[in-house]
Symmetry: none
Subunit: 224 residues, 4 copies
């Protein structure tokens, strides 16, 4: 379940051609519609070579996924390292995710597509990847609760689910929008404002707190 040594022995230029072709393919189609044929044509390598480099499409997909993961982690690292409140960290995560999508739209597109695949497929392919991502958010939220920043009445697991869902959808929304070169400036503010609006809701909720009614109370109402 790794590219063969043959592949890693290839000159960098050729490796890159192959990975670029794969990226273009997986960014453009759901996994099950991606084809070896498209990739070998785009990479301009013989059909047979593909199978000397990779066991099959999954093999290549996985490799690409790891590369993306590494790149993305670079964006996340500084966010995590900074010591600030949970909500600020979350906001930074969202921003970093969007920044990543702007810098590497194809990489981000592939990542989004991954979360759109059937769960069974995701499970088989990258067991625990998604879980670990949500676990990370959950830990962050629990810390926030311990620090008194996050409402202790909130279920941390659910909140992680919510944050993860929205993060994926926000990036998806960004990627699916039209991106002519000129729009990049507008986008910049527009999408950051989307992040801000979403996070405002996540922070404050939709309810208009006239007189500071306790969340706990209303939650119990709601639970009925």
């Amino acid at each position: 379940m790794l590219p063969t040594q043959t592949f890693f022995n290839l000159p960098q230029g050729k490796q890159k051609r192959v990975m670029d072709a794969a990226l273009a393919e997986f960014a453009a189609k759901p996994f099950h519609n991606a084809s070896v044929a498209s990739i070998v044509e785009a990479a301009d390598i013989p059909r047979g070579s593909f199978y000397q480099y990779f066991e099959d499409l999954e093999d290549l997909y996985l490799h690409l996924f790891e590369i993306i993961g590494k790149k993305k982690r670079l964006y996340m690292q500084e966010v995590v390292s900074e010591k600030k409140g949970a909500m600020n960290q979350i906001r930074s995560l969202y921003s970093a995710g969007l920044q990543f999508a702007r810098d590497h739209p194809k990489l981000a597109s592939l990542g989004i597509r991954f979360f759109r695949e059937d769960r069974s497929f995701r499970r088989r392919l990258i067991a625990g990847f998604e879980e670990s991502s949500m676990q990370f958010l959950q830990d962050m939220l629990i810390s926030g609760q311990e620090a008194g920043e996050i409402d202790p009445a909130v279920d941390a697991e659910t909140a992680a689910f919510v944050l993860h869902s929205l993060n994926v959808d926000v990036v998806d929304h960004y990627l699916e929008g039209p991106h002519s070169a000129e729009e990049l400036i507008h986008e910049s503010s527009e999408y950051l404002s989307l992040v801000n609006s979403v996070l405002y809701i996540i922070e404050q909720g939709l309810i208009h707190d006239d007189e500071c009614g306790g969340g706990q109370l209303r939650n119990q109402e709601a639970g009925g």
Copy 2:
């Protein structure tokens, strides 16, 4: 872009067989992996007949989608008709969506899959469907703001986006879970509790309001 008259002239039983087969297929696979072959086999109709009833798979998909829409609207209607607060309506919408998924898991699965397809595909296929769904939420939210229930600082469009995203993901989460017959009772409460937890966050936000600081203020902080 509609089934032919020939199809509607078919005896009800045969029509149903076809639609059931199509439903099973589209509920099980993303649209681009669905195959005419599977459907004609499951429906036990001649291969050639398919093309006398429908122009192509999209044609059938669309028809099915409309039927589902109608069924789903029945679940939503009473929710909408009741006059109660915006948040209660939203909660009811979530519950109704879940109820629909429990009663018609395949129909719901197809619906979820739809939202997982490429936006370009969604656009081409059912222009405006998703938008109208979000517009409906948005109107509800604006009413809530006018009634003083919903925080006026919230951007209604964004909030509709958030609610829609989470609704899809909650139902998806429900559908992807394992459903042995015995679990149905447990599920019932478990998933409603997921809805409640999610909506609690949406209502109250994550922030711990010690002294009732205004959302507006913090939002501006956050936006920096």
Copy 3:
């Protein structure tokens, strides 16, 4: 594990073309070297049609095997029906097998090839076929022992094994020989004489029994 109805609905001529092509292929190569490509070319049908007629090569092979079995059983039937001694029945079986090979060399060739495949393959493909063939011989031998014709000291199972082995090898030997049209007459006597010689050994053994009836005599009996 049967040809599809589609195949049986085909006009006889086309069915025959396909079966003839398959026969030629399976008679010429061991199963695992047979190719769909050769067959569709020889039968002059589109590649795709093959898979509308058969699940795969095994499916076709099996069908062909059954047809051969039926044809061969016609040759064997009269042998079995006649009431005569065990040795005479065995001799008749050998002759009938040879006669079958002469009349239908390709069918026989396929049959022989079958016994040359790996046992594991044979088992999976036609469970019990070979066994039943040997069981038949064994029963015949036991009857012969009860009738006092066959030496009771002989192990019937082993003898069935010996008879089966030799029968296959004799037919194989016949099929592998060159068969120009002119040789058919010579063959006739030559191969019958091979059968006779083999059966003489099987009957009398190799040992020279000095004191008791001469082998020469019995051999001439047998040759009749």
Copy 4:
């Protein structure tokens, strides 16, 4: 049609690795299904090297066959050297063949496979090998006839054919059976008893000779 000098210059260890890999391959599959790929992988040599050592698969096969021949001849030599009756020699040949199969199952398997290939292929590959094996049996039988041990009415060529066929089938039967480590002891007697039963038939024939020496007795002699 011989391995290149390059091959013979190889260090013994590497030569052995190649030959072992080839043996494993040819013992497991009929010749036409053996693949260069499997062998170079198992031997852990570069793909290109194969073609520097051998012209093609046949070249390697042939070389291996000769090695096997030499090993097998060691088993046969003592049998032949001993001066005893023809039947005893034959019995010894069968036992030696079985012994060889027990000691070197893969070598024997390859040998058996050889006899299962098309005669045309056998002819082309190892012209005269099989013939010489049968000629050897035939000479032995003729000597037996001259010594008065073997029935002079028996056709020596046919008898050689019979003995050869059965020898191959007996060893094949042995090799195809299951061989757990514990069974080796049981096997020992079981398979020797198969040899004895087969040879009893070959010696005495199937016919029940009322007035002359009982088969039972001779069978027990043979079992010794």
